[in-house]
Amino acid sequence: MSIEVTAGPSSSDERLLRESFLRKLLRRPELGAVSGAVLVWVLFAVLAGDRGFVSLRATANFLEVASELGILAVAVALLMIGGEFDLSIGSIIGGAGMAVTILSVEYQWNLWAAIGMALLFSLAVGAINGLLVVRTKLPSFIITLGSLFIIRGVTIGLTRLITGRTQVGGVKAAAGYDSAASVFTSAIKITDPASKRGLPAEFSISILWWLIIAALATYVLLRTRPGNWIFGIGGDANAARNVGVPVSRMKVILFMVTATSAWLVGTIQVLSAGSADTLRGEQREFYAIIAVVIGGTLLTGGYGSALGAVFGALTVGMVQQGIVYTGIDSDWFMVFLGAMLIVAVLVNNYIRKRAAEVK
């Protein structure tokens, strides 16, 4: 038997190398999303290249849109690989943004303290979501659908109670605004040779946040113990528990991570707009799920990647902004988004099946 094993001629090694490269490529969950993103870019470059889509300004533009979605999508990818959903992040964006604004404007807190307090709120919401899911064993879809409405309702109710309005401005005058803005909303200006009016392309700092978070999430997923646990609990929570993985604790942490991503996006939006609206972040939970699914993460958990979510968000951002450049009414964006989701799932399923077949 050992003779059979060791007697492989050298020619079989080459075959092994070639095969395993193809297999490795097919095995990457983000393969579909990367090719999809390239395809969408080419599509808009052809359709709207002469109207400015292929320019630094347009690129900065869709990257900014993609980055805010991408921050959410990366966190949601971790949670979904872990086998759960979080529908409450859109409401947390609104709630956290409003908390920052009310604390800094109405109560005159230093902006940094307000941002810190909003983070604590968000972490608490995430922890409650997670604990409810773990304790009640109800689907997270139901629990977080509940918190979607509760958080939004509390945000609207409290805001009206305190300010009498649903939109609150004045953040730019708050103490600590300059330093906070440099961290959350500054931009790098690069002169765009394509711009006839000489307007510079502004690459927003949220892009940097997005990339840092994506790199961190990828590292955690692929190269740490908790990362391995996330795949395990999403693949089979009981099996994972039986080999000693702290399943409940990990799930609660994952809900706190998605809540934190929502806090970050809420904070970025409030600081760049200078005001908060109780309806901020509506439907962001669905956009994030779409980006994650386009990115090749399995809805049932246990399989996926943070990098895929990055490309999923990039694709959604390009479509959202690209449509504007084509001159097509942006009302049609939702049609694209929905169709893209379905196509992406079909393609990803096909790739995954092929990956399992290639041996």
């Binding site: 395993s20 990362g227 395990g232 099996a239 080999v243």
Partner: protein, 286 residues
Amino acid sequence: MSADQTPIVEARNISKYFGGVIALKDVSMELRHGEVMCLLGDNGAGKSTLIKILSGVHPPDEGEYLVEGRTVHFTSPRDALEHGIATVYQDLAMIPLMSITRNFFLGSELTQGWSFLKRFDIRRANCIVHEELRKMGIDIRDPAQPVGTLSGGERQSVAIARAVYFGAKVLILDEPTSALGVKQAGVVLRYIAQARMRGIAVILITHNPHHAYPIGDRFTILKRGRTLGTFTKAELSRSDMIQMMSGGEELEDLERELREFREQASSRSAETPSQEEPGGFGEESG
């Protein structure tokens, strides 16, 4: 009493109820150092429930559980693992979408570094898995391939290799051969023998006496939640075993019932010959 004679695992008068179902009643058994103890019994006899108690998944409702002579109260599988008791479960041995290596190290990841995000050294993990499986005679081409691409026997073997690698003193296997063909079952049984040679005590669950008899040192037979006792190979012939475990009596009962049914049917068709079905039941079977 010397340490070697103290059973490594012992259950004393253990009972377990699920609502109204009595899954186990007053079951005692022991596992000695370096032996393969087969736990036999028909479906629903309570075998899985018993080993889930031993491996910390369920607490017993009554009775006492001792490991190396000391009473223990496990609240999670982690507790059992810390006592060196590793289990390969019947229903959930491996996670199909994860790679062989990731499955192998799940819950016991190999880390290096010092920060709270210690690095999971996946390259070294891959090498170890490749080497450990090769030692057991399985040559997998790529430990990074998903477990879903492995055959049932290979999956069981990986699970056993994992338990052995992580230093299990007791290895519990729940029906590792039930879904396997003859050849693959043979491979798995050989690994069990290897594990015993390395000094690991094994509890092997099966309802197939032909798998149990060649490898088992002693046999505990469960029936409807109660134990019929523990027997050595000398005390129990293969046919005795078959008789006792899957209800040899029940097979005889069944045979008798079928015979009676046949006789009844043939006598009835003789009394009242059916017009629509001239070639009736009785004639065919008679």
